[in-house]
């Protein structure tokens, strides 16, 4: 049956239901596009035949192929759109700089989309009051205390806190830090929030 390749693309994403981004399946897309091209050309020639030779019995076949074309288009569009939703999530979870391993899974146009998204979001956040604006990708959970206990899960180097003090984030070291300074590092898995 037609459209098997297209649904395979969809299954591939559906299997990773937690939102991870698998490598962009360029080959899969290409194969679907080829099938579409073939279906379209067959339909063109059958439509001609139906018109010039009055072969109206070809119409159901043309319609059949047209359904397959629409299905292929839907599968590809949904595959791409769902990938955008995953890429969007990366901006909120990792911040604006992505690890190379993940960038490696994106095609050039996806990187372009990500950069545009990043820019729109930054412009929006800058526009919110004051000079610096408001970073709404922070403060994801209601604050319970000003300072929190954190453990360092890997070496991260020097880190400056509000009052200008610099501390060294060394693997396994433990610190008592302003909560809002740590949020992003905790999300990225550099620090761990310790609750006694």
């Amino acid at each position: 049956m037609f459209c098997e390749k297209a649904v395979e693309l969809v299954r591939e994403l559906h299997r990773m239901s937690d939102g991870q981004l698998p490598a962009f399946n360029e080959d899969g897309i290409r194969q679907v596009l080829e099938e579409m091209k073939a279906l379209y050309e067959q339909n063109q020639s059958d439509v001609n035949e139906a018109k010039t030779e009055g072969k109206t019995e070809l119409i159901p076949t043309v319609k059949f192929r047209h359904c397959c074309l629409l299905r292929n288009q839907r599968c590809i569009a949904a595959y791409l759109y769902d990938r955008l939703l995953r890429i969007r999530a990366l901006r909120w979870e990792y911040g604006s700089v992505l690890p190379t391993t993940i960038r490696f899974h994106m095609c050039a146009e996806e990187l372009e989309w990500f950069n545009q998204y990043k820019k729109s979001l930054a412009t929006y956040m800058r526009s919110l009051g004051g000079e610096e604006g408001l970073d709404i990708t922070q403060d994801m959970k209601p604050p319970k205390s000003l300072y929190i206990e954190v453990r360092c899960l890997k070496d991260h180097g020097e880190f400056e806190i509000d009052d200008g003090t610099v501390i060294l984030l060394k693997k396994n070291s433990q610190h008592f830090l302003p909560r809002w300074k740590c949020e992003q590092l905790i999300r990225q898995g550099v620090l761990e929030h310790v609750i006694s």
Binding site: I29, L33, M36, K37, Y40, L69, L70, Q73, I76, A77, L80, Y81, L84, R88, C107, E109, E110, E112, W113, Q116, Y117, S120, L121, T123, Y124, S127, L128, G129, G130, L134, D135, I136, Q138, D139, K141, P142, P143, S145, L146, R179, W180
Partner: protein, 225 residues
């Protein structure tokens, strides 16, 4: 500031327009919390409250400045700092819910904005409007560049209004009644049921279809919880 305050007093019914100058910081934060909960629990994007947002941002800056004057290590300082963090959380969470809905429903949000009559209040703030337009353009460019332009001529576009789902106004929401309402028409749930009317007493809480009470959320007569 005065505009924002008068907008805030419209929220409470508009009768106290003489009192608009005495909206205390506590009242301002209460308005923010109302807007936040409504936005968080309503399935669709609500009218923007950018003047309220501006006021809260000003309030935050003001509090930060005050904090600079307090001696370091003063217990009062950490209480104030905590208060700032809390307000910033509510404000961020509020703006986040809005942005999330804009991204989720962007073609519909933009369509609604387009069909809005002159003088009707806008659902989007100017910045949100810019963001939504860029989001749509960015996404259309992407779909086109990766795949659609390689498709047969009659399949090179996707109607985003049809492809991106609309908010589901039939979802159920919890609400508390702030102003007594009479004769609210409730749609039947099953074929055997008939539609019926209810009165909503002040202070009472209900679980209802959002569509039924959407106008009351907009007017501020009920609070989503």
């Amino acid at each position: 500031m005065a505009d924002a305050l008068s907008e805030a007093s419209e929220l409470s019914g508009g009768e106290e327009s003489q009192e608009e100058d005495v909206l205390t910081p506590a009242e301002l934060i209460a308005r923010l919390e109302e807007a936040w909960l409504n936005e968080k629990f309503s399935p669709e994007l609500l009218e923007n409250k950018s003047e309220l947002v501006e006021c809260v941002m000003e309030q935050l800056t003001h509090m930060e400045e005050n904090l600079q004057r307090v001696r370091k290590g003063d217990l009062k300082a950490s209480v104030h700092r905590m208060e700032i963090d809390r307000i910033r959380f509510v404000l961020s969470s509020y703006l986040r819910s809005r942005l999330q809905k804009i991204e989720k429903f962007f073609p519909h949000v933009l369509e609604k904005e387009k069909s809005r009559a002159d003088g009707d209040p806008s659902f989007l703030s100017p910045e949100e409007f810019a963001f939504a337009k860029e989001y749509l353009a960015n996404t259309e460019v992407y779909l086109k560049a990766v795949a659609l332009r390689h498709m047969p001529p009659n399949l090179q576009s996707v109607d985003m209004l049809k492809a991106v789902p609309e908010p589901c106004l039939d979802s159920f929401v919890f609400l508390r009644v702030k102003e007594r309402q009479e004769n609210i028409l409730v749609e039947p749930e099953t074929d055997e049921q008939r539609e019926y009317v209810v009165d909503l007493e002040e202070g009472s809480q209900h679980l209802m279809r959002y569509r039924t009470i959407a106008p009351l959320v907009a007017s501020g007569a009920v609070q989503l919880i």
